[in-house]
């Protein structure tokens, strides 16, 4: 009987101990985040510093965890429970429920709620024809001008990644950079050998079209700019078009699914060039334009409204950490898909 009494206390004891431990870890996490927030307000920036947790994350089956999360959040919530679940989510992640386009009962699952649209007029598009607008809601992490296509973007102080590793080595950008050098040296035979060498590659074909070539040649000497925007879990997660532009190609990197929060950017190297991401490249009136949508463990899915059949966060067939990216050229070649400033373009989703 003492044995069975011992067992009777085992389960509740273990449960209480686990909850206590999780509580302590969460408190510690809140304390760390508060410290980072205070430091940021003082203008102090933490340097890049890998830690044990980052190494540990590399061993975890993050893609499976992400897919299980997607399965759970896709489960249908009973209608009577929906307002309570979505209000709890909104409270935890500071979402603004007033802006949701539909009554809360209409969202069948947390995943449906997460990718909600907003009521008409909630996001007015800046009317200035010379403005470039934000494609998402979020926090500005970094922005600036780059020397050239080979330039580096700082992930955090002390660690940078190259634009070509983010967009891919076959990026239209590298071709424009080449044309810039050709334009400078205006060496004609170099251009014809270039055509021979890369007759097959898509961007040479797409550049054959007059519209694209005139856009590229009209702006021989432009600056190259970038902007990095972080979306918190409670933010509106649809992506809109920043300008009027033609989307010529989509490039999908299956990659990894590390978390993308503030701590991860300080401790995991090459985060943005290792994680699963979808890159859209094309041309606007000033030249090259690209948007890279980068997934994370909890938000591993990227849905394109211009290519609904694209699936991301697929179960990994091979254990290759980095498969080559998969390109798709949008028809008609050289013109692609035309989007107006503010048009809905894509959406992140959970799992």
């Amino acid at each position: 009987s003492s044995n069975s009494q011992g067992n009777a206390f085992l389960v509740p004891g273990a449960t209480v101990a686990t909850l206590l431990m999780l509580g302590v870890l969460h408190a510690r996490r809140l304390y760390d985040d508060k410290k980072v927030e205070e430091a940021r307000e003082k203008g102090i920036e933490f340097e890049f510093r890998p830690d044990v947790k980052a190494t540990f994350l590399r061993m975890l089956p993050l893609r499976s965890i992400s897919r299980v999360w997607g399965f759970l959040t896709n489960l249908e919530v009973p209608v009577w429970l929906r307002p309570h679940v979505y209000r709890a989510w909104a409270r935890a992640y500071h979402s603004n429920l007033e802006e949701a386009a539909l009554p809360l009962e209409e969202y069948a699952s947390l995943r449906d709620f997460f990718v909600r649209t907003l009521r008409e007029g909630c996001r007015p598009i800046d009317p200035d024809p010379y403005s470039l607008v934000s494609p998402v809601d979020g926090t500005i992490l970094r922005f600036g001008e780059l020397e050239d296509a080979g330039a580096m973007i700082e992930q955090v102080k002390g660690f940078s990644y190259s634009v070509t590793s983010l967009l891919g080595s076959h990026s239209l950008l590298s071709m424009i950079a080449e044309k810039n050098t050709q334009h400078k040296s205006s060496n004609i035979e170099q251009e014809s050998t270039q055509r021979e060498k890369s007759k097959k590659s898509w961007w040479w074909i797409s550049l054959a079209s007059p519209k694209v070539r005139e856009t590229v040649s009209e702006c021989p000497m432009k600056g190259l700019y970038y902007c990095v925007i972080y979306l918190k879990p409670g933010d509106y997660h649809r992506i809109h078009s920043p300008v009027d532009w033609n989307v010529l190609v989509r490039r999908h990197f299956s990659g990894r699914l590390f978390p993308l929060n503030e701590r991860a950017t300080r401790t995991i190297r090459s985060l943005y060039v290792e994680n699963e991401r979808v890159v859209l490249e094309g041309l606007w009136q000033q030249g090259f334009m690209a948007i890279a949508a980068i997934g994370a463990t909890n938000i591993g899915s990227i849905e394109l409204f211009i290519e609904p059949e694209l699936r991301t966060n697929r179960p990994r067939k091979k254990l290759l950490p980095t498969e080559p990216p998969e390109d798709r050229v949008y028809e008609p070649e050289g013109v692609g898909v035309m989007l107006k400033k503010g048009d809905g373009l894509a959406a992140f989703n959970m799992g």
Binding site: L132, S134, L224, Y225, C227, V228, I229, R238, A290, I291
Partner: protein, 41 residues
């Protein structure tokens, strides 16, 4: 999740462009931004 924009725009480095046509950001690091708000002009 994170979105990275990379784009060409007029810069004051090229001889043809006057400073007036150089692209300028209208944001600061750490700013909260919403869809449709200008990042620069």
């Amino acid at each position: 999740s994170t979105v990275v924009l990379v784009f060409q725009a007029p810069t004051s480095k090229s001889p043809k462009n006057t400073d007036a046509s150089k692209f300028r950001f209208s944001i600061r690091r750490g700013d909260r931004i919403r869809v449709g708000q200008a990042l620069g002009r």
